[in-house]
């Protein structure tokens, strides 16, 4: 009987072994005795907690992912992945399922916020030079996460089975097939056709249909989320193993004195730190930097993370309340959308694809990804790690490169839009020439040359990387804006969608 009376207390202490986090020890225990929190360090550096260090972008992307996960599971209760039923089940979700429309809007907005968050997070990591040794591998994991995020978003795009979905994915599948542009030129498509195989693997058929839908569904609700979760675990775990967030070498002199209310640090001298140093690579808190600048993760880091979580949730829900996720007419393979546009984050690529499907859809993205992946391995410098625009050239170089990148992309696009391209000047030019000489490849070459020039000028790979990355951002932004806003029927140029006419 006594045991029964005491059950709530025993249950609580069995649940929460370290007791209330009132002491340093308790606070540490709060973190590392919790399976969900133990990826966090028990103590966190004050540098990491500054808002400008990260702007919370990674956590924002994570919270958006959690939102899509929760709402996605809810949507799965009603969604039916078959062409005959998919569109109607979305209509049902929109019109009759209680809060269905709200949930679907949240799913859609969270997905968009996740893409934006991941891209901004990558830009943050790059510009603070946080990818450097020993974090090279985590940069690669981050790139894998970017690719999976985009893939998740793209596979989700087909599921509503409306015109938007159908034709965007048709474009995507044709891009997958665009390797044929090369194999056709060499004349080997007949016996070796990797492009066609890619499309077949993607769609399970030669056009978007029931097979493609079930494939995309499976990828979207199972394979890719599991992959993303696994990669995320690695990503977070590596942050700790790589010694927390990157910070400048002279971090002590850059931080203001700690607030009076900061909890005292290491009241006893650490005994075991050095033996730990024998197995953990990198610098432990006790070596060099001293422990004064760390604070317990609970509550400092927890509060900061909770704030970012809540901010993302609130923004996402507020957007969902007022802006409905689009749903066009039911997919109709006989009536092509014109213009058929991919999701906005692919429209920069689609703009390049309009010049050459292979280069825009496969060639240039591959070059970009390889280039990004190489950055931490080429840049072995130490100057400016953990600082915004750290390294030679600084923000001036970043700004100048951004200007150059914008000017180059605008120039190339202006020529292509006003005067056409080689085909218009010399009809009969073989496709292989256009594949290798088109606005996209010229732009890539210009950016590469510019980057080489910056490396020479500053005698620093970091400077070259800043130049290249800023150009890349400028190109991505401007091409995306052109694709979203200035392209109309038949991918023609229009100053505003109201001038499309006929539609």
């Amino acid at each position: 009987m006594d045991n029964l009376v005491r059950t709530p207390m025993t249950f609580w202490s069995s649940l929460n072994r370290s007791g209330m986090p009132v002491s340093d020890r308790g606070r540490s225990g709060f973190i590392f005795s919790n399976v969900f929190l133990h990826l966090h360090p028990a103590r966190v550096h004050r540098w990491s907690l500054r808002w400008p260090t990260t702007w919370g972008l990674g956590i924002a992307a994570l919270s958006a992912f959690l939102l899509t996960l929760i709402t996605g599971v809810l949507l799965m209760f009603y969604y039916k992945p078959h062409p005959a039923a998919a569109y109607l089940s979305i209509k049902d979700i929109h019109f009759v399922v209680p809060t269905g429309r709200f949930i679907r809007n949240i799913h859609r907005w969270a997905a968009n916020i996740m893409v934006v968050g991941v891209l901004l997070h990558m830009a943050r990591v790059f510009f603070t030079a946080s990818y450097r040794r020993p974090r090279e591998f985590n940069w690669l994991v981050g790139m894998a996460l970017l690719v999976v995020t985009l893939a998740l978003s793209f596979t989700g795009y087909l599921l509503p089975w409306d015109q938007l979905a159908f034709w965007a994915v048709t474009i995507g599948a044709n891009i997958a097939q665009s390797l044929r542009e090369l194999t056709d030129a060499v004349g080997m498509t007949a016996f070796f056709d990797p492009g066609g195989l890619q499309k077949l693997l993607l769609l399970g058929s030669d056009q978007v249909g029931a097979e493609a839908l079930i494939r995309f569904y499976l990828m979207h609700v199972m394979v890719l989320p599991l992959a993303l979760a696994a990669l995320l675990a690695v990503h977070f775990w590596r942050i700790r193993k790589d010694g927390g967030l990157a910070r400048p070498a002279d971090v002590g002199s850059r931080l203001p004195p700690p607030e009076g209310r900061v909890y005292p640090v290491f009241t006893e001298a650490p005994q075991k730190t050095y033996s730990l140093a024998a197995i953990v690579r990198g610098k432990t808190p006790a070596v060099g930097n001293g422990p004064e600048n760390t604070v317990p993760a609970m509550p400092h880091l927890m509060l900061a993370e909770a704030a970012v979580f809540m901010l993302t949730f609130a923004a996402c829900l507020a957007l969902s309340l007022f802006l409905d996720a689009p749903l066009k007419e039911m997919a109709n393979p006989a009536v092509p959308e014109n213009p058929a546009k991919a999701p906005w984050y692919f429209l920069g690529l689609q703009e390049l694809v309009s010049h050459s499907a292979f280069m825009g859809g496969i060639g240039i993205p591959t070059v970009c990804l390889v280039g990004l992946a190489l950055i931490p391995f080429l840049d072995r410098e130490e100057e400016g790690t953990g600082l915004w625009f750290g390294g030679p050239g600084g923000w001036r170089l970043a700004l100048a490169s951004f200007m150059f990148g914008s000017a180059a992309v605008l120039a190339v696009e202006t020529v292509a839009i006003n005067f056409g391209w080689i085909r218009e000047w010399f009809p009969g030019t073989p496709q292989i020439v256009i594949t290798f000489v088109n606005p996209g490849t010229l732009l890539t070459a210009a950016y590469a040359l510019y980057s080489v020039w910056t490396v020479r000028r500053y005698d620093s790979t970091r400077a070259g990387a800043i130049g290249l990355f800023s150009c890349f951002i400028a190109g991505f932004l401007i091409l995306t804006v052109i694709g979203v806003h200035f392209r109309g029927p038949n991918w023609g140029f229009f100053w505003s969608p109201s001038m499309w006419g006929g539609h």
Binding site: D92, E259, A304, A307, M310, L317
Partner: protein
């Protein structure tokens, strides 16, 4: 840390507010909830409990489609609690098809799955189909039904006039009009309703019966309103009653379409020409593919149709459709008809008999007499009575009922021309669409229009023995001005057409050149006229031989 605490507090509050607002929106502000609240407000307090707040829907057993229109229009079907007399919440008027079984959208259009006003009525962007304007509601009978053997417009107009004139509406009700008098005196019954008599049938000896009652009655409507009818008038009335199928105006509208020669260029259900778009399902025109850019007025299919009739070339750039010069009433009637071309995608097991007849068993929606056929297929170009037409910007269409032409043209020549057309010109070949009997009917109709039989020709088809070279120089001098240097046509018809050269006999050519064609600029060359020299018979023979030299692969 303090900043973060504040941020956490405020964002949490915003989040909480958003969730509360979403809950309020979900539970009180949905369009269908508002509508049901309004309906409840109009009910007596004791009846309100009969109308619980819930989504209501019709599930169509045959197609499995779901329609939620009754979520707002609570009284229309499914034993909802109706607000008597209310336009939105009242009961559906009594029509042949029960909405609970047939659903709403099959007749009214719109989006059945929706529970939001704009989406349900199809005014929101990307709705597949907008609500059909209420006055066109009967057009949607055409979603499933066909109507066979629509008579010619003129006859139908006369029949309607006879019906109105004969005072039938005194005792009978039709399409919501009439039936004010009681033939049996005070307390008597009105005459049977005639709105659907075309389907339900009526006694063939109705006229004799009426006359007997008239003879028996001493006063009242039987004496005052029942007229004596001639046989002709009774035939007209029968024709008119046959069109009373519960869809007021639909058959009449169809007859207008069929009298304007639209089928000459447009196909409907497989019959018709190829110059214009197929109209079989034009009433469901995809809003995405409909060019609205140059349409004046509101963006609706109704307005698109009407504006297109007013000026086809403005609405659809490059349109070859001539200006029809319809008055507003006709434009409205034609719009009504176009809305009836909706062809619902139903499994064939659900098709009504009439549609099966038309689409599978070779039945036709138009009658097969020559007048109707000419109206449907020919009048668009050749005029309502074969008088020819010229539309601005298009070539002149020949007057096929010209007496001096008909006198020279044998029935065989006419039939052959209709059957094979004029390859390369606007005149298509009708051999596939029209049977030999139809074509014979058309020839007879032409003869009737022109009031001239074939004059006869005792000579063989080819007798001219002229010199083609001499003919060529005469042709250049006297014919090329209008017919073109190589006979390809100009202001005058083309002469190098192979079907024409094959069918036209020498006598036909000879007499046309010699005597000219009355009512056109082609004056006879046999007698001199100012500014034009007289050709001898030999010269005409030379020209004929020259024309024959254009015939390929003799």
């Amino acid at each position: 840390m303090r900043q973060n605490k504040h941020l956490l507090l405020w964002t949490s509050l915003v989040l909480l507010g958003t969730l509360i607002w979403a809950a309020v929106d979900e539970n009180f502000l949905r369009d269908w909830r508002r509508a049901q609240r309004e309906a409840r407000g109009k009910l007596a307090a004791s009846e309100r409990a009969d109308l619980p707040s819930q989504v209501r829907q019709i599930v169509l057993a045959e197609t499995g489609a779901v329609e939620r229109c009754v979520s707002c229009h609570v009284g229309m079907a499914l034993d909802g609690k109706e607000v008597p007399g209310d336009k939105v919440f009242g009961r559906h008027p009594n029509v042949i098809h029960d909405p609970a079984r047939f659903g709403c959208t099959v007749c009214h259009g719109g989006q059945g799955t929706a529970t939001l006003l704009e989406e349900a009525h199809g005014t929101a962007p990307h709705c597949p189909e907008a609500l059909l304007p209420k006055r066109y509601a009967y057009a949607s009978c055409g979603s499933c039904h066909a109507y066979q053997d629509v008579p010619a417009r003129a006859g139908l107009e006369t029949a309607r006039a006879v019906f109105e004139r004969s005072d039938c509406l005194a005792c009978h009700r039709m399409d919501g009009r009439g039936g004010t008098m009681r033939p049996g005196g005070a307390g008597g019954l009105e005459g049977p309703a005639l709105s659907r008599v075309g389907m339900l049938g009526y006694a063939p000896d109705w006229y004799a019966g009426h006359q007997r009652k008239k003879a028996a009655a001493s006063s009242g409507p039987w004496r005052s309103s029942m007229p004596e009818l001639t046989d002709e008038e009774r035939r007209s009335l029968s024709a008119y009653l046959r069109t009373a199928v519960g869809a007021p105006g639909l058959v009449l509208a169809k007859s207008l379409f069929l009298s304007r020669g639209c089928l000459g260029c447009h196909k409907v259900g497989g019959a018709g020409g190829d110059d214009g778009p197929d109209l079989t399902a034009v009433g469901r025109k995809d809003p995405v593919l409909t060019p609205y850019a140059r349409v004046r007025g509101p963006r609706s299919l109704e307005n698109w149709f009407k504006d297109h009739f007013r000026s086809p070339g403005r609405v659809v750039q490059g349109s070859k459709m001539p200006l029809l010069s319809l008055d507003e009433r006709e434009a409205d009637e034609l719009t009504f008809f176009l809305f009836s071309l909706r062809r619902a995608d139903l499994p064939m097991s659900l098709w009504p008999k009439d549609r099966l007849c038309v689409e599978r068993l070779g039945g036709r929606e138009f009658a097969s007499d020559g007048e109707t056929l000419f109206g449907a297929f020919c009048s668009g170009c050749h005029g309502s009575a074969g008088q020819g037409r010229s539309y601005p910007g298009l070539e002149t269409f020949p007057a096929v009922a010209n007496p001096s032409f008909l006198k020279l043209a044998s029935d065989r020549f006419l039939a052959d021309t209709i059957r094979r057309g004029r390859p390369g010109r606007r005149m298509p070949s009708w051999g596939a669409a029209l049977s030999d009997a139809d074509i014979a009917e058309l020839v007879k109709t032409l003869r009737r229009f022109g009031d001239s039989p074939f004059a006869g020709d005792s000579r063989p088809a080819r007798w001219a023995r002229g010199d083609a070279r001499r003919g060529a120089s005469v042709f250049q001098a006297d014919c090329a001005g209008c017919h073109g240097p190589h006979g390809a046509g100009g202001t005058a018809p083309a002469l190098d057409n192979q079907v024409f050269l094959e069918g036209a006999t020498d006598s036909y050519l000879f007499r046309t050149v010699k005597n000219g064609r009355q009512g056109t600029v082609m004056k006879g060359f046999g007698a001199g006229s100012p500014g034009r020299r007289t050709l001898s018979d030999a010269e005409i023979e030379d020209i004929i031989s020259h024309l024959r030299s254009w015939r390929k692969g003799k």
